[in-house]
Amino acid sequence: MSGDDDRVAVTLAEWPDDADSDEGVVVNWFVREGATVEASQSLCEVQIEKVSVDVLAPVDGTLVEVVRGEDDEFERGDTLAWMEEE
């Protein structure tokens, strides 16, 4: 974690309105570390209570690090992965 300026955190942008829980679980990653992705491309699917939500790429660039892998739990606002902007 060198604090590179060009690293962009991947988070779930909008928590489901009707969810009581502040915790979720990562269900599926659709891209691997090192993959080139476009902004708004679906990177992974998370589940909060019984609702599945896609987490979208915030920018064009490369997925450099997955922080929360499949079956990992996370809390609202947690960084799920890091991207490097193109």
Binding site: V25, V27, N28, W29, F30, V31, R32, A35, T36, V37, Q41, E45, Q47, K50, S52, D71
Partner: protein, 339 residues
């Protein structure tokens, strides 16, 4: 998976790959539509239609009343008049209440009309157990559907197969039964094994029916299987390799037509045949594959093993279900008996 040529940066779950193929066909052809129970607002209880209603609306993604005989019959009629319906059996186990529509209308109307009508529809159905849903919600019934003439029957094992087989199914002018295993779909509450989530080209492509895929090459034994058990067989093959046994794993991908050539070619190389099925043992896939090989190449067979669900209803109890549904250890033991 040698057909993949383009560079792919994303992987899909099997459900998303299925939906991508359906959505592409619906955009290209207004005659394609989907109907079934909980397929519109819910997106399919196993995510088989997730997002389709949002894009195509209620006219083309229809929730239907709980009468399989009514809506499968409606699909057969629509297909005969030139539409390309996809009708979903929420659980394949429910086929019984629509058996006349499936066995006598869908499968036979082309023949009975002397070729005056065709039935270009897809019947999708969720199959399989391993999640304690008891005897009426856990069957695969592969043999039941492959038995009657007039329907093609396909069973995807990965996202790549799911998309290519679905494109081919919708474009086919004959009825196709598309049996997707719940455990492979990639659903949060029903986690898939490693394997079914694969790279999937964004462009459309077809996988021809009757083309089995050698998922792993080997010299000592041929393991023929389909659906979920492709992944269990691959895991078994990996373990067996540690003990010096080289297993070839053949994924059938379609039961009708059956790619006997690929199976026979493999058995002529290995001399040993293990058929693994999640359907019942008697009068099913295992017996049919063994008989087909015996017809073509009896002399090539040194030994044969069948691994299938014993002829009992699938139990609700977790340890009992685990006992009757073939697992990795069962496959390894069967392979070792051939060596």
């Amino acid at each position: 998976m040698s057909q993949q040529t383009q560079r792919v940066e994303r992987e899909l779950t099997m459900s998303r790959a299925m939906v991508e193929a359906i959505a592409t066909e619906m955009r290209d052809d207004d005659e394609v539509f989907y109907m079934g129970e909980d397929v519109a607002d819910y997106g399919g209880i196993f995510d088989s239609t997730e997002g389709l209603r949002e894009e195509f609306g209620y006219d083309r993604v229809m929730d239907v009343p709980i009468s399989e005989t009514a809506y499968i019959g409606a699909a057969v009629g629509a297909a005969q008049l030139g539409m390309r319906p996809i009708a979903e059996l929420m659980f394949v186990d429910f086929f019984g209440v629509a058996m006349d529509q499936i066995y006598n209308q869908l499968a036979k109307n082309t023949y009975m009309s002397g070729g005056n009508v065709s039935v270009p529809m897809v019947l999708t159905a969720a199959v399989g157990g391993t999640y304690n849903d008891a005897a009426q919600h856990s069957q695969t019934l592969y043999g039941t559907f492959a038995h009657v003439p007039g329907m093609k029957v396909v069973v995807p094992s990965t996202a790549y197969e799911a998309k290519g087989l679905m494109h081919n199914a919708i474009r086919d002018d004959d009825p196709v039964v598309y049996m997707f295993h719940k455990r492979l779909m990639g659903i949060g509450w029903l986690p898939a094994p490693d394997g079914p989530k694969t790279p999937v080209p964004e462009t459309d492509y077809t996988i021809p029916f009757g083309s089995a895929d050698v998922k792993r090459e080997g010299d000592d034994v041929t393991v023929v299987t389909l659906g979920l058990h492709v992944h269990r067989a691959l895991e078994a093959a990996e373990n067996l390799a540690d003990g010096g046994v080289s297993a070839e794993v053949v994924d059938l991908r379609s039961l009708v037509p059956l790619d006997t050539d690929t199976i026979v070619e493999s058995v002529e190389k290995t001399g040993n045949l293990v058929v693994v099925d999640e359907d019942y043992r008697s009068f099913g896939v295992t017996g049919e594959v063994v008989a087909s090989v015996a017809d073509e190449a009896l002399g090539a067979l040194d030994s044969v093993e069948r691994v299938a669900v014993p002829d009992v209803p699938i139990p609700y109890s977790r340890p009992l279900e685990n006992e009757v549904v073939p697992d990795v250890d069962d496959i390894e033991a069967a392979v070792e008996r051939t060596q």
